[in-house]
Symmetry: C2
Amino acid sequence: MTTDPSDDAGPEHLNSDEETLIAEFWAPLANGYAGAYDLKDDAASIAVPPDEELIVSTDALIAGVHFFADEDPGAIGWKALAVNVSDLVAKGATPLAYLMHIAFPERPQSQWLQAFVDGLSAAQAAFGCHLAGGDTDRTPGPLSISITAFGTVPAGQMIRRSGAGVGDRVYVTGTIGDAHLGLALKRDAAMLARWDNPAATAQHLIARLVKPQPPLNVIPALREFASASMDISDGLMKDFERLCRTSGVGGRLQAEAVPLSPPARALLAAGETTLPDLLSGGEDYEVLACVPEARAAEFEAAANKHRVCVTHIGHITPADTGVSAVDATNRPLRFLHKGWDHFA
Amino acid sequence: MTTDPSDDAGPEHLNSDEETLIAEFWAPLANGYAGAYDLKDDAASIAVPPDEELIVSTDALIAGVHFFADEDPGAIGWKALAVNVSDLVAKGATPLAYLMHIAFPERPQSQWLQAFVDGLSAAQAAFGCHLAGGDTDRTPGPLSISITAFGTVPAGQMIRRSGAGVGDRVYVTGTIGDAHLGLALKRDAAMLARWDNPAATAQHLIARLVKPQPPLNVIPALREFASASMDISDGLMKDFERLCRTSGVGGRLQAEAVPLSPPARALLAAGETTLPDLLSGGEDYEVLACVPEARAAEFEAAANKHRVCVTHIGHITPADTGVSAVDATNRPLRFLHKGWDHFA
C-alpha cells in the first residue's frame, strides 16, 4: 500500500474541515508550548529571555524535489524539522519552536497524517522544540512543507559564516557523503545488487538520507571556540566555498581527511563512488566549522566531552589562494559540480 | 505579454545561480535590517527589546489557489506580505521583519522578479518591515510564496481571539465584501458588462482583492481597548464564529450595519450580490474586534484619532444563543457557506 498522501483509494481520507485537522493532528504538537495558544489564534508569541537573541531560519521540502512522494510519512515529518534545526545548530542556537506551512495536493489520509505527525513529534522530542503555529492549504502542486524554526543564542553570539580567519582549522562533524549514497541506492537498485553486502549497510546510508540527525551536541563547543560555521546541506565543497567567500578568505581541504562511514569507504573501494562525488553530494546536515589553531585542542576536547565527533579536514588560507580540495599527493580534486543549485 | 514567471518566451530569463538571485533581487529587500546579515548567512537574528514580545505568523499564497498565475507580479509581492501583516495587525503587533520561502515552477524572468521585488518593497515601506531571510526553490508545482512575519507587542499584550466577553461590542475596520466582488469581477466579464458604471468603480473592488491594505493605524486603539480580535481573511461570518467559539461566547451581527463601500452597495442594489455573499466572501483583510461596552466610546475616539474607520456591527452574547447575523427585521440571514475552507 502506498503512503502517498494524495492516494485516492480507501475510505480513510480525512473527513473534516481545516479546523478539525488542526485540532486533531497539529494541536498535539503544540502541547507544552504556551505561546502556541493551542493553535487557536492567528499568531504565536515567542518569549525571548532578555539576555538571549532569537535566531530564525526557513527551509522547505517539496515532494519530487527534496523527497520521494511515496516516502514514509514519518520520515518526511522528521526531515522537514531536521533540515531547519540543522541551520540553528550550525549557528550555535538551541532550538525553541517552529511554524509550519503545509500544502496538500489532495485531502490527506488520516493514516498518512498520523504517521507524519508521529515523525514530527519524534523530531520535536529529539531536538527540544514545539510547533507554535502554521498554515494548512490545498495546492494543485506537490505536497510542500515549509518550516520556519526559532532558536536562541546568548545575545550577540550567533556564529556567522563570515568569521573565518587565515590559519583557522576547518572541521566537520560526523561523516560526509552518506546521504548522497543513500539517494544513489534509492534511485539505482542495480547498485544495490552489484554490492556484496547490501543488507548490512544500505540501511544506514538510506537512513542518513531520509532521517538526518543534526549534531545538537556540538553547540557548546561551537559557541565557545568556532570563528565561523554553517550547516552542510548542498555539498561540502559548495558550502565550504560559500563560507570562504563570505569570510573573504581561501581554504584547502585534505580530501583524504574527510570522515567517511564504513559503508561509504566500502562503496568508494568498490568503485561505486568517488571522493569528489562524496564531497559534493549534499544533504549531509553536518556542521562545517572553523576554529583558530590556538583553540583547536580545546574545541576538540569540548566536542569529545559532549560525545560529538569532529574531524579536522583542512585550513583557511589567504583569499588569493582560492578554495580547493586536494588528494593525498596534494593534487586538486576535480569536480563536475560542487553541490546543489536549484537555479544553476 | 503575459507576466507568468514560468513563461518560456523571450531571452530575459534569469541567467544565474541561486546566490546571484539572492544578491540581485532579495538582498536589497534586506537593506536596513542588520539581523539579516545581507542574506549571506544560514539564519537571521531577531532582536526583541526586553519589554516586548515577539509575535509570529505564517501565511502562504499559491498560484491558482490564492491568486491568478498571470496576476501582476508587483501585486503578488504586495499581497504575500500584506496577508501576513494583517495577522500581526489584528494581534496588536507592530511589523518588524519577515522570512520568505518562494518556489518557482521555472527559472523566473528577470523582469517578473524585479516587478515582484518592487511590490514587496512598496509593501515593506507601507508596513514598516524588512526581509530578514528566506529560501528559494524550484518546484514541479505552481509558484508558491510562504511568508513568516514577525512583529512586536508590549510583553504579554498580544490581543487574543479568546478574550471576548458577553455584552462586548463587535467592530470591523474598513468595508466588507469588496475583495469578494473584485474576485467575481475578475472571473466574470459578463458581470462587468451588465453593470452600468464599471470603469469608475470596478477598479476599486479589484484593487481591494489584489492589494489588501491591513489597517496598521488601528493598532494603538486595539492595544488599549480590545478584549479580542482577529483578522478577517476567510469571510466575516466564518471568522466571527471562530472568534466566538475560541472565546466561549455567542454573538449577533446586524447585517445592515456591516460597512459596505459605495460600489458594493451599488452591486447589492443591482441584485448582483447578496448580503450573505458579502459577509462570507473572504479576503477582506480587515480587523474584527470586540470592545467592552464601557470602553466603546474611547475605542472609537482612539480609532478616529488615528484616522481609521471602525464600525459597530453587533454584540457578544451568551454561548447558548449561538452565532448569527440578522437582517433589519431581526431575521437570521441564511448562508450557503460562511467562508473559505480548503478542506471542507
